[in-house]
Symmetry: C2
């Protein structure tokens, strides 16, 4: 059996091109769905590691969750492999389907139609190949993020430093093992180190702080923690290139937990938080 | 639209359990299939980083491959996200199907039937949850491996330090970015540092070296490189627990490139390479 396998498929090895290999379409069922402080794509930071205060949790599906998690609590950090489920190319044809149960390319649709390059925020409009970035807009909508493991309670994994939208389907958790995963002297392009963000200072208006105080239940949540989280999100500058370039001085908002944060960027470097409203009230008032 | 999305799905945030979220089954098409020196699961090292001499390549499928790879050459290391396509649970029901085109659970088959724990080689038989390890036997057959990017030629990515079987379907390539991916002080369980392997010394018999010399085309391949690769594979000790415990002193073999390496472990620490044969000849002689 093995012998036949080898004869059939194991040809042209190390000649740079593989032939006669079986090609597969591969299907996964998520192990769970992330519960995050970021309800939508817009405003979600690009790297969780930059927003240490962001929190989330993952309930593992299946009756054996407790066994599957046994021993994971001994690690301080984990990789999450997830699906960028809000990518437009997988969503555009599904938008009006209430009960969609599968995310995939429509049969017959070619991936060759996807843009093979993107404009990362740091490159100021220059195009680069999708495989040279961590952009969500990739051939397969698979993301990889490193986050801090806070604790495990029964079948729920509590995490911080996450950059995932609420409801993100998680495909796998893998422990972070520094002896395998650290390559401190790995080289990478200079533009990665370029200053990605222009926002340097965060100012809260008196009005916004008063509303924040009212909105938070002071028994369970700390106003300083909320301020810190809002500031970290802004310092990571989640604005799109379009908004930075074309609408830089216009009021702008994003959501964290149950808060809608309305702000304005002054002189490209100062984010003034004008107001903080309750998310649900905001949503019932207007459409984003 | 967004507002409805939030109202419908964004409930119970940060209460540790997510409800009313849409559940998806997710399908991917590989971006390519790995061309590796390891033709089969048996004998493939567990961590590519331990076997720096191992080589492979990945031809990116699709007409836009060159654009998709633009800029990747500026990184020294990359993550490969791949599918453990030879896992038994996805293969057992497919074995006799010559033209399988999809890897997935059979409809109606429950993942609850999969063992939720495994015995990692270092734990000497003790069971641990699948999410606390990098074991291939997981809920979703997704693997994550860090390897060295040697060079890119047209649509082919040349890699080293890989631990992948020939023909492995690759789902994504992501650049390794030390400023995001390095957490040098991350903590992990002590057993990760335990000595995983007992093999310390590699000895080549005169016969094996003579055959190696004959089998390698000295114009293109270097006998010292082959010896180094064989030694690295053995020092990483790819034997199964069963073989280590029950059949430790019996002759044993594995394949690297076109070579079948027959060896015997002496005193649990010395690997004596008895003979080196041509892979194809070996396969035509006997069934593994």
């Amino acid at each position: 059996m093995i012998s036949n396998f080898i004869k059939r498929y194991f040809t042209n090895i190390n000649k740079g091109s593989i032939t006669n290999i079986n090609k597969f379409r591969i299907t996964f069922d998520p192990i769970g769905y992330i519960d995050s402080v970021f309800p939508k794509k817009y405003g979600t930071p690009r790297q969780g590691i930059l927003v240490k205060e962001s929190e989330g949790s993952l309930k593992i599906l299946g009756k054996n969750a407790l066994h599957m998690l046994k021993g994971l609590e001994e690690y301080s950090h984990v990789w999450l492999i997830f699906c960028f489920h809000q990518n437009q190319h997988i969503n555009s044809k599904w938008n009006n389907k209430e009960n969609r149960t599968e995310l995939k390319f429509i049969e017959g649709e070619s991936r060759d139609d996807l843009p093979p390059t993107i404009r990362p925020p740091r490159l100021n409009g220059k195009r680069i190949g999708i495989f040279a970035t961590r952009s969500p807009h990739r051939m397969n909508d698979i993301g990889l993020t490193l986050c801090k493991l806070e604790r495990i309670e029964k079948d729920i994994v509590y995490l911080s430093g996450i950059d995932l939208i609420h409801g993100t389907p998680i495909l796998d958790i893998k422990p972070y093992i520094p002896i395998y995963d650290n390559v401190p002297d790995a080289s990478f392009p200079q533009w990665i180190l370029d200053k990605p963000n222009t926002i340097e200072t965060i100012e809260f208006s008196i009005n916004s702080l008063e509303n924040l105080q009212k909105l938070l239940n002071s028994n369970t949540e700390n106003i300083n923690e909320a301020k810190e989280l809002i500031s970290q999100v802004l310092l990571s500058d989640p604005r799109s290139i379009y908004r930075k370039k074309k609408r830089a001085d216009q009021p702008w908002g994003f959501i964290v937990k149950n808060l809608y944060i309305q702000c304005q960027i002054k002189d490209e470097t100062i984010a003034l938080i004008i107001d903080i409203k309750e998310k649900d009230k905001f949503y019932s008032d207007q459409i984003l």
